[in-house]
Each structure stands twice: as C-alpha cells, then as structure tokens.
C-alpha cells in the first residue's frame, strides 16, 4: 500500500515521484532486526558452550568431592581408582605422567620447531618455503591416533627397545617423542609468524654492520620476536597436556607416580580414555572422577592459554 505525501511544487500530483512505499521499509526494518537478533543468538551460543563446560565439569566434580577429599585428591600420589578395594584418588600420579610426557615433548619440539621457523624465514628460498610449508601443515593435520599407532608399533620396538633393552612396551618416552613431533609444526608456524613480524630494517641494519646470518638470527631476530616465540612454546605445551590418543595408545595405563620414562605410566587424559573404554556407570565415584580429572585438565590448559596471551601482550615489542 503506497501512501502519498504532500504534492511537490512543480511536479504533477500522482506522478509517482515522492511516494514512499512504507510497507517495504517496514519489512526491511523487520528483516534487519530479525537478522541482528539471530546473529547475536548464534554468537551467544559460544558463551553457553563455555558456561556448559564449566557447569558440567564443576557439578559432576563436586559430586566426586562430596565423597572424596579435595586435599587427598590434589596431594595424593596413589591412584587406584579402578580397584574394588583400597580405592585411592591421588591425582599427582596422573599429573606426574602428564608433566613427564609434556617435558619430553617440549624438549623435542622447542629446538626443532624454533630452528625450523628460523630456517623457513631466514634461510629458505621462496620455492623451498612453498614446498616445506604445506608439508609441515600436513604434519599438523595428521590425526593423533595415527601418531599413537606409530609410537606404539614402530618407535617403541624399533627405536627405544633397541637403545634401551629394558624399556617396556608401553613407555612414556615413546609417547613423549610422538607428542613432540606432533606439536613441532605448531611451534614452527607460530614462531615463524613472530619472526616475520620483525621489520626488515632491523635485519638489514645488522647485516650492514657485518653480522653473519647466524648472528642476525640469534642476536637480532629471536630477541625481537621472543614474546611470540615464548607464547608459541606455551601454547604447544598446552596442546601436549591435552593430548589424549597418543598417550592412551603408547604410554600405558599404569597409574603410578611417573619416575622412569622407559616404563609405562598413565596421564590424566589416558585415565579418561581407560574409564570410558570400560563400563562406566553414572553415579559411581569412578564416573565422577572423570569430571574431577577433566576439571583439573581444563584448568591447566586454560591457565596455560591465558598465560600465553598475557605474555604476548605484556612483552611484545612494537617496532613500527
């Protein structure tokens, strides 16, 4: 329905000019409002996801802590959750294995990842980069279950047991090495981003003073990009902590304080997999222990991620 406005001087009335189709405007306005509301709701779903994670982890973990002591959980070193008698929930046993796997992984991934990043950005030609970067991305995209299989069936028998005949079939070293290879591309790509952000002028100034490529890389570039590099390390460590399938397959399920990397151990994530692989009945304290361990895992990885973001913000050098 069109509504005519007052006649415009100079133009005949009912000529079609100056007439506004209010219904179209009204419809468009409704569409605008509806679209905006729909989009907002979708964005809000992400908040609900976070709330959901926190709520479910907390509520089920609280059920766990209604029968088990928090202090014993956090400080105990005996984890015999699946025993019928003498059930003990000292999570440090699991945490020690997680920490050991992460340490081994970082020992592998930090030098390899950083040096690869330096090579890719400072030494490699455009053509070499265009070949190597997709390969590294492929490495990052391989499902972790494949790494776990490789660790269990190749790394352990062919490599570890050849060098250390006393190593067991399931051992922390094998899982740690595999996790290290898995997180190396993450360090490489994030460190490379940080290195590329260093302005060319800094490099050229150092070259002009007669520095060798190695000196430029270690004394100019890495210090300049250090905040991003360290952040990449922290994020990689967070990934290693949360890694599940590699440790489930290769590290074993012996839930004791991890002291020997050549023996088996059970990480926090490995415990979750072991429990759900069996018959887990809702309402038992084994079921609730899943969420207690999950809550600890969530807090640890969230803490590392937040720390890495804070670190970048605090120490980043802006040069431009």
């Amino acid at each position: 329905m069109t509504a005519s406005s007052d006649p415009i001087p100079g133009l005949p009335p009912d000529s079609g000019v100056g007439q506004v189709d209010y219904s179209l405007l009204r419809r468009q306005h409704l569409v605008e409002k509806a679209a905006g509301a729909f989009l907002l709701v979708c964005a809000a779903v992400s908040i609900f996801t976070t709330i959901g994670i926190v709520v479910i982890l907390l509520s089920e973990a609280l059920q766990f802590f209604s029968t088990e002591s928090v202090v014993d959980f956090l400080t105990g070193t005996k984890w015999t959750a699946l025993f019928q008698h003498d059930q003990s929930f000292g999570v440090l046993a699991l945490v020690s294995a997680t920490v050991m796997v992460t340490l081994i992984a970082m020992l592998v991934a930090m030098p390899t990842g950083l040096m690869s990043a330096i090579f890719l950005s400072e030494y490699a030609s455009e053509r070499t980069r265009s070949v190597l970067k997709p390969i590294l991305e492929l490495l990052a995209g391989i499902p972790t279950i494949i790494y776990g299989y490789f660790a269990l069936t190749f790394v352990t028998p062919e490599i570890i047991q050849r060098i250390f005949p006393g190593a067991s079939i399931y051992n922390v070293l094998s899982a740690g090495l595999a996790v290290g290879v898995m997180i190396t591309p993450l360090i490489t790509s994030l460190s490379e981003d940080a290195i590329r952000a260093v302005p060319r002028s800094m490099r050229e100034g150092a070259y002009a003073m007669g520095a060798t490529k190695f000196e430029v890389a270690t004394r100019v570039i890495v210090p300049a990009a250090l905040s991003g590099i360290v952040a990449s390390f922290i994020l990689a460590a967070s990934r290693a902590v949360g890694e599940t399938m590699i440790v489930a397959l290769a590290a074993g399920s012996r839930a004791q304080l991890a002291t020997d990397p050549l023996q088996s151990a059970q990480t926090m994530t490995g415990y979750v997999i072991q429990v759900v692989s069996g018959d887990v009945v809702r309402g038992t304290n084994v079921y609730y222990s899943l969420y207690a361990v999950g809550l600890l895992l969530f807090i640890m990885t969230l803490g590392l991620n937040i720390f890495s973001h804070w670190f970048v913000r605090r120490f980043r050098e802006e040069y431009e």
Partner: protein, 302 residues
C-alpha cells in the same frame, strides 16, 4: 666506484684473512646446516611415518575393507559400519555448526560494537578453541548423553563435535570477513543499503571461498578425532549401521582404536590399512575444500 677505488678496496679473501671473522663465518655455515637439519627432521619424521604405515597396511587394503563390517576375524573385518558412522557425524556436525559458526562470526565482525563485551566474547571463543578435545567429550557425555538422557546416539556425538568445531569455524570465518576490503562495504552503504543488505549481498559472497575452506578444514579435523567421541559414547563394536540420528554408532578413528588395542599382529596390520583409508578420506575432504575455493574464487571477483 672508480677503477682506482676498486683496486684499492680489500677483496673478500683479504677481509676473511681475519681469524675471528673466519671463525664467525664458519660458525654461521655450521648453524645454517643445523637449521636445515631441524627442518629436515620434521619432514623425515613424516616420511618415515608414511612409509611405515603404507608398508604395514598394504596387505590389508582391499574393497572388502570398505564393505565389510567389523568382525572378530581380522581377515574379514572392515570399516563399513564405521564409515557410515563417520559420514553421519560429519553431515550432522556440518549441519549444526556451519550456519551457527558463520552467523556468530558475521555478528562479531559486522554487527557487534567495538566494546569490552565484544572483546570478551572474542577472548572466550579463542579460549574455547584451545580446550582439549577430550574435555569436549566430557561435556558431551555429561550434558547430551546423561543429563538430556539422549543416550549414546549419533545426535549426541554430532552435537559434541559441533561444539568442538564451532570456535574454529567462527575464527576462520572472522578472518575471511576481515579480508574483505572496507571499500566494498562503504560503496554499498554509500548507496543506501542497510547493514543486512551490505552483509548478505556484498560481504558474504566475497568471503564465501575462504569461509568454505575454513569450515571444511575444521570438519575434516573433527572427523579424525577419536577422544571426544570415545568419551561421548561411540561404541567400539557396533553390529548394525546407523540408520537414523538416534542409533548407536562408531566412527573410523574409534574402530581403528579398537583394532589397535588388540595384541594380535593381524589386527595391527589391519589398523594400518584403516589409517590409509582415514587419510584418504581426509585428503578427499581437503581437496574438496581446495576445489571449492578455486570455483568460488573465480566467481567472487572484487
């Protein structure tokens, strides 16, 4: 420089006669070799992995692997049911997470005011992307399987995977939208278009290739995940293929985990063949992403 200056200038050899300089240059040469070796190590690890898997699983690669259901006998065991489950999960996950993820990213990039709340929302999404997948599995188990009493059905698994993929899709779509130049939006606003008209008719078509690529990569990553679905209830031994969203199911990675957990060598060889199938599926999905990007990239010229 003049001929006189050139002849008088020290040659590289004369400069390098300096002992300290020679040491530094030698060090630089050694280190460039070490940096190269570090990169080569990663590539070599990938090559070793690929060679080992292919050589181990080659014997079990056959059409039967794709058409047989799982069985107690390795020579008769196949991925038929698992493939069905994986396809179900992928389809439902895309259906749930893609529209919501793209919509959330559109809100964040085109509609949201630049204030503290929006910033918090973005930080929240970034944190969610870093949560371990096994925690998403616990979320799925606690809320969908138990609290909403769905049981261990396809829908519960797909919802879990959708929540897992959502942050990644949001982030990649945001990047795609950010890459659309402002001039495109301003030209549309300039002729009186409303915000939704600008977004739907101008920004989105320009960003479609990157959005699709990001979404397919997110889903292909999710289809290789084992832990969340193990926790949220996929079974290890399913006898019938899932025909509806409320059937029990298994997926390819979970079936592989089942085989890998057995001591018999034959099942481990079978698992290697299954890995080849899984990688084939992922390569197929990634190729679809690349092809779509080429196709839509040609149409969206700006």
């Amino acid at each position: 420089m003049s001929a006189l200056q050139r002849d008088a200038a020290p040659t590289v050899e004369q400069l390098s006669a300096n002992k300290q300089l020679r040491r530094r240059q030698g060090l630089a040469r050694i280190w460039s070799g070490i940096f190269f070796l570090a990169t080569a190590f990663a590539v070599a690890a990938l090559a070793m992995l690929a060679w080992y898997i292919i050589s181990r699983g080659w014997g079990y690669l056959s059409w039967n692997l794709l058409t047989n259901p799982a069985s107690r006998r390795p020579e008769r065991s196949g991925l038929y049911i698992a493939i069905y489950g994986t396809l179900w999960i992928i389809s439902l996950t895309i259906l749930i997470s893609f529209p919501m993820g793209v919509a959330a990213a559109i809100y964040l990039e085109e509609y949201a005011p630049r204030n503290r709340w929006t910033r918090m929302l973005q930080i929240n999404i970034s944190n969610l992307a870093g949560v371990p997948s096994v925690v998403y599995g616990l979320l799925g188990l606690g809320i969908f399987v138990e609290w909403l009493s769905m049981g261990r059905i396809v829908l519960a698994g797909a919802l879990t995977m959708a929540l897992l993929s959502l942050p990644v899709i949001i982030i990649s779509t945001s990047e795609a939208l950010k890459a659309v130049p402002w001039s495109l939006r301003e030209s549309a606003y300039g002729v009186g278009a409303t915000r939704w008209q600008v977004t739907a008719s101008h920004v989105l078509p320009a960003a479609v290739p990157a959005i699709l690529t990001g979404a397919i990569l997110a889903v292909s990553r999710a289809s290789g995940e084992t832990a969340p679905l193990l926790v949220a209830g996929a079974a290890g031994f399913v006898t019938r293929k899932p025909d509806s969203f409320d059937d029990s199911y298994t997926t390819i990675p979970i079936q592989l985990y089942n085989w890998m957990s057995r001591p018999q060598k034959e099942f481990l060889d079978l698992a290697a063949a299954g890995i080849i199938v899984l990688m084939g599926l992922l390569i197929l999905l990634n190729s679809v992403a690349i092809v779509l990007r080429q196709y839509y990239g040609r149409k969206a010229r700006w």
